[in-house]
Symmetry: none
Subunit: 173 residues, 2 copies
């Protein structure tokens, strides 16, 4: 039993290594993508950019915050974002609020529950993160950075929104 477990572990390690090698090779001359491994301090104090709700398996209500560099660029409509722009995505369980519904006298209110789906960041550093459009991507679950294999999916999706420098979220006044 123990041996099987070890073998499985080894197989997973090999598979991840192979995936990473392929990913690195695919990025061509560029180095394998780098990902952000540390949570930027004080992000919970950043300013609000906008809010959203995701249905489906995500099933959350979320907020996008930005540091001063990012929010200034948003408000001035500056694209691309300047170096040092930091954007955070927080998310919480999407829950009906019986308390609010009682106050409103009808079922209509959904509020934020416990944090869910991790915390994500993007930071603009054109040199360091040249392989991923000048943005460093980050995802943390309970404070721990996600595996690189998971992080590979960030850039290809965000790259679809080139006209807004890879940032989907618009600023909400």
């Amino acid at each position: 039993m123990k041996q099987i477990t070890l073998s499985l572990g080894a197989a997973v390690t090999l598979a991840v290594a192979a995936f990473m090698a392929i990913a690195a090779g695919k990025s061509g001359e560029d180095a394998a993508p780098l990902f952000v491994k540390e949570i930027p301090p004080g992000y919970r104090d950043w300013k609000l950019i906008s809010v959203a709700h995701e249905e489906g398996t995500l099933n959350d209500i979320r907020a996008i915050l930005g540091n001063d560099v990012a929010v200034k660029a948003y408000r001035e409509g500056k694209i691309p974002f300047p170096e040092g722009a930091f954007i955070a995505r927080l998310a919480w369980e999407y829950l009906p609020s019986e308390e609010n519904n009682k106050a409103f006298g009808r079922r209509q209110s959904f509020v934020a529950g416990h944090p869910t789906n991790g915390v994500q960041f993007m930071v603009k550093d054109s040199k360091k993160y040249a392989a991923t459009g000048g943005w460093g991507f980050a995802h943390f679950d309970d404070g721990k950075p996600a595996a690189d294999a998971f992080m590979q999916s960030c850039f290809p999706c965000h790259d679809a929104i080139k006209s807004r420098d890879l940032i989907f979220t618009r600023y909400s006044p």
Copy 2:
């Protein structure tokens, strides 16, 4: 005689003072509630408290922001809120995002559209707003304060949540 006159003068002075005190007390109880008529400057830079979605006729996605006094109290779990605590409610149209749905590969994403349902505030000033639980209430549509008749409905509803000092929204970490 002179002494009596003085006594009478003192008595009159006392009586007037007593009358004024009673009148002040009565007008305190009977006075119409005061409402906040000016938008607090810089509120869009305040920190995020939480987010919510309202269905029904409101049909918005919203954010609750707080000034430093309010957010500090929230984080420390301090009830009642201290004097000077300011809480803002912003809201935007609740719109499906075709752009996000395309990126996710399925219909699931709702984002913030134009601002809607005005901007609301509560400010803690126990003396000034004694008639409404120590909170001053405000609602602005396109920068203009709502009529007092409209504002009468704020306090009776918020008063239902006495255990949290009249504030429905909980802090989302």
